[in-house]
């Protein structure tokens, strides 16, 4: 409920901004959504763009559910990505084997990069936000050095070589089917990961322990739960998810890794998780929603004099209100009353006619 209010308020803000650039908000939004959704090709492009967001959203929300703030998602994407990319550019094996290798590599890299802040937190009480941010930059430079020294593209200094087709998540059959879109096997990875996360948190002993530690670590300790182990495990799983996000971005949506870029999807995952209130299914929808805004803004800008940054503004306003959810909750009664009165008036009007 809060999320819906936040989204609506974001749209209101967007509408106001559209009007200041002398544009009709309704047309503006129509083009925005058309740009994101109209036609198989566009729809699938949006879906493909959403995949890394789904995974980082899952990663951050998983950490949130267990009481931790995984701001190291970008670093985990990078390390997961570089592990996978290195192997993809070094080994030459049949497709199925390559896919298994790169997926495992991405998971391993992400798990490692997530476990480190978890370990530091559990053993030395180092704030995971601080360690996460520092590790983001360490990952950034590891990618820089590794690609520059070993995998540099022949034509562009700041890119790695192209990922060979056998290792890439791009599937020609899918690309043809969806009208030449970027949709790739990553969507499968995202869906399977979501199912696993839901399963772990709802049905397993491991999930029970992790949530208990996240909700009240003193009571968890009292009950005999190993708080340190679970904190590390939660961050490791969270890291693995972001590692997979890196895989789907660099070797699915994209075709190589670029150096000198901190992947924004890592931070956007936080916004996705926040809007979804850390609910896994909500994360899928929230990621898709963010993707619509990002892929649709180009089309909107082409059809009307509305700057594409409006989409970013809308996202920002939504995040603001999602974070200030308390504000909406306090006024919820008032909002409900307002809506009900409006509905009552409409009914009365109808009845009177």
């Amino acid at each position: 409920m809060v999320s819906i209010c936040a989204i609506l308020l974001g749209f209101v803000a967007g509408a106001v901004l559209m009007m200041t650039s002398s544009s009709n908000p309704l047309s503006g939004f129509m083009y925005l959504f058309q740009g994101g959704l109209k036609g198989v090709s566009r729809f699938c492009n949006t879906l493909a763009y959403a995949v890394p967001l789904m995974l980082t959203g899952l990663s951050v929300s998983f950490a949130f559910q267990t009481g931790l703030f995984n701001i190291g998602a970008p670093g985990q994407m990078l390390i997961g990505g570089i592990f996978a990319t290195s192997l993809a550019l070094t080994l030459d094996m049949p497709r199925v084997v390559m896919l298994a290798i790169v997926i495992s590599a991405a998971i391993a890299g992400g798990t490692l990069w997530g476990a480190i802040p978890g370990l530091l937190k559990a053993k030395f009480n180092v704030n995971e936000v601080v360690s996460g941010i520092m590790l983001n930059w360490i990952a950034y430079w590891i990618v820089y050095i590794t690609i520059s020294d070993n995998f540099k593209s022949a034509t562009i200094d700041t890119e790695s070589q192209a990922i060979p087709g056998a290792a890439s998540l791009r599937e020609p059959f899918l690309t043809r089917l969806t009208g030449g879109s970027n949709l790739n096997l990553g969507i499968l990875i995202a869906l399977i990961a979501t199912a696993l996360v839901v399963f772990i948190l709802a049905k397993t002993v491991m999930g029970y322990e992790m949530k208990a530690v996240g909700f009240n670590s003193s009571a968890a300790e009292y009950g005999g739960i190993n708080v340190a182990k679970n904190a590390i495990l939660a961050m490791a799983i969270s890291g693995a998810l972001s590692g997979l996000a890196g895989l789907t971005f660099y070797m699915g949506y994209s075709n190589n890794m670029r150096i000198g870029i901190m992947p924004s999807q890592g931070f956007d995952g936080i916004a996705v998780a926040l809007l979804a209130n850390s609910n896994p299914i909500g994360v899928l929808l929230s990621a898709f929603f963010f993707a619509i805004l990002q892929t649709g803004k180009g089309f909107m800008n082409a059809m009307m004099p509305i700057p594409p940054e409006i989409a970013d503004t809308i996202i920002a306003v939504i995040i603001y209100f999602a974070a200030a959810s308390k504000l909406i909750e306090i006024n919820m009664d008032r909002i409900k009353g307002f809506v009900l009165r409006r509905m009552g008036k409409a009914k009365a009007k109808k009845g009177g006619q």
Binding site: V205, N216, E221, N226
Partner: protein
């Protein structure tokens, strides 16, 4: 027509399907202390939260000094002169006393705060009402009794005329309770009026003029305290007869279950909170630790349960050394622990009741197999505990534990710990926050454990409880044993002296 300073008429408030307040009316005269008596979950806190503006009643009206009012928030309540001293203090721990009192009403001098002026006003108020506080001390460093006085001053600073006290004595030592009663009398003599939410019948008799009794959301009656006996009030509260005396037969204790030898444990400040402590609890025996809060009881319990490491000494359960064992291992060896702080240690508030009931046993069959939880078994287990121990909630075992009243949370925890059929039950303040009916039930269950051959280590700040329940009493002061005596030979004064540090008879150490 006598004018009431506060009148609540026909208040109705529901939470989902639970009717917390069912047409309750209450009247407070000026200069009067009105006790609000009821079992946990009866609706007392809800009613007072409505008066204080934290909740809005579904229907009914409130009159303050004869005029109808709408109390929409605590700020409005404050403006009307109504103040509440909460059971769980609302203080910022790393702020000073002064900063806490002025929080929300900061006195400004240009763009900076005039804390000195506030401190002066606080000093005047504290002298006028006999509320001894140190305005510059940080909350985290002062005693619970002083923290409560800060809460009271918060209200007086805002010119409250009507003060609502929610279970004020639950967190105080016997001496602090006497001080509080004197403070309340002082407030009355200065023209204030007090509503006292409590179920300590002795205190009601000592300090209240009238008593309004609530049961399951409905008003039972309002009686003049001088005309009613404790027995009568208790029976009105629970709706049936109550026995105040525990029926406990003599029993020969069996072999030792818990043996603590020369245990020394550090406290949170880094010095020794428990020194050279030795104790044995046998099967079929209740050993009660009598002492003023903060004299080593917490360190003893935390060391035995594994929540903290001991510096030296040993702990043995049924002959097995557990001094370095993990908490999970100790639970497995048959230790149950009813914790001192139910909200910090005892429950995960965001988990449902059923998820909380398996907090220690989730890893064992039948609750899980191969790492997967068996929801059906868990639900059945939780339902049994809730039924056995009369845990009331808005949505049964699916209610979030944080939404239960304090007393019901305590019952759930006790139910969970007793259901495990432990060899050793460590009960710390087991009946804190519980009403007379529940106390009777819990005491009965603890005696049952002992009769069934279990060992019970009881730590309680209520001397009556220790004297009544225990077979053997050990007095503790400054981390050491100051006396040991059989309960049947003990009397209150003797144990009180031992608690205060005067070495008593039967003390093995010099």
């Amino acid at each position: 027509m006598e004018e009431y300073v506060v009148e609540m008429r026909d208040i109705v408030k529901s939470f989902g399907s639970l009717r917390a307040n069912d047409n309750i009316s209450l009247r407070l005269r000026k200069g009067e202390i009105l006790a609000l008596l009821g079992e946990n979950g009866a609706g007392k806190s809800t009613l007072m939260s409505i008066l204080f503006g934290l909740y809005k009643a579904d229907s009914g009206s409130i009159f303050v000094r004869g005029s109808k009012v709408r109390i929409t928030s605590p700020n409005v309540a404050n403006e009307l002169g109504i103040g509440m001293v909460h059971q769980h203090f609302k203080l910022v721990h790393n702020f000073t006393v002064t900063e806490n009192i002025v929080l929300g009403l900061e006195p400004q001098k240009g763009i900076s705060m005039n804390l000195k002026g506030a401190a002066e006003r606080i000093r005047t108020l504290s002298q006028k009402y006999g509320l001894d506080v140190d305005p510059n001390a940080k909350i985290e460093n002062i005693s619970v009794g002083m923290q409560q006085r800060v809460e009271i001053l918060k209200m007086l600073y805002r010119n409250a005329d009507v003060l609502i006290f929610d279970e004020p004595t639950a967190v105080l030592t016997p001496m602090e309770i006497r001080e509080l009663i004197a403070i309340m009398r002082g407030l009355i003599s200065e023209g204030k009026s007090i509503i006292l939410i409590t179920h300590k019948l002795g205190e009601i008799k000592e300090v209240a003029d009238y008593c309004t009794i609530i049961r399951r959301g409905k008003l039972v009656d309002t009686v003049k305290v001088s005309d009613a006996t404790q027995q009568k009030m208790a029976e009105m509260m629970v709706g049936h007869e109550i026995s105040f005396v525990i029926d406990k037969k003599e029993r020969e204790p069996g072999p030792p279950v818990l043996t603590v030898e020369n245990l020394s444990v550090k406290n949170t400040q880094g010095s020794l909170g428990l020194t050279d402590f030795s104790l044995t609890v046998h099967s079929g025996e209740i050993v009660g630790i009598a002492g003023v809060d903060g004299n080593g009881q917490s360190e003893l319990v935390e060391a035995v349960t594994g929540l903290c490491r001991s510096e030296k000494g040993s702990i043995t359960i049924n002959g097995q050394d557990i001094t370095r064992a993990s908490i999970a291992q100790r639970i497995h060896k048959g230790i149950s622990h009813i914790p001192e702080d139910r909200q910090k240690r005892g429950l995960v508030p965001d988990y449902t009741i059923e998820e909380n009931m398996i907090l220690e046993v989730y890893g064992q069959p039948p609750f899980s197999k191969h790492g997967l939880l068996n929801k059906k078994e868990i639900r059945a287990y939780a339902r049994k505990i809730v039924d056995d121990f009369d845990v009331r909630s808005s949505a049964g075992v699916l209610s979030k534990a944080g939404t239960l009243s304090g007393g019901n949370q305590q019952k759930a925890i006790i139910g969970r710990e007793l259901q495990k059929q432990p060899d050793l039950l460590i009960a710390v303040q087991p009946t804190r926050g519980l009403d007379v009916g529940s106390i009777e039930y819990i005491h009965k269950r603890i005696v049952e454990q002992r009769d069934a051959g279990k060992a019970v280590l009881l730590v309680s700040l209520e001397l009556d409880e220790v004297l009544q329940l225990s077979d053997r009493i050990v007095a503790i002061n400054a981390g050491r044993i100051t006396g040991e005596i059989l309960a049947k030979d003990a009397d209150e004064n003797q144990v009180g002296l031992m608690m205060a540090g005067v070495r008593g008879k039967g003390n093995p150490q010099s």
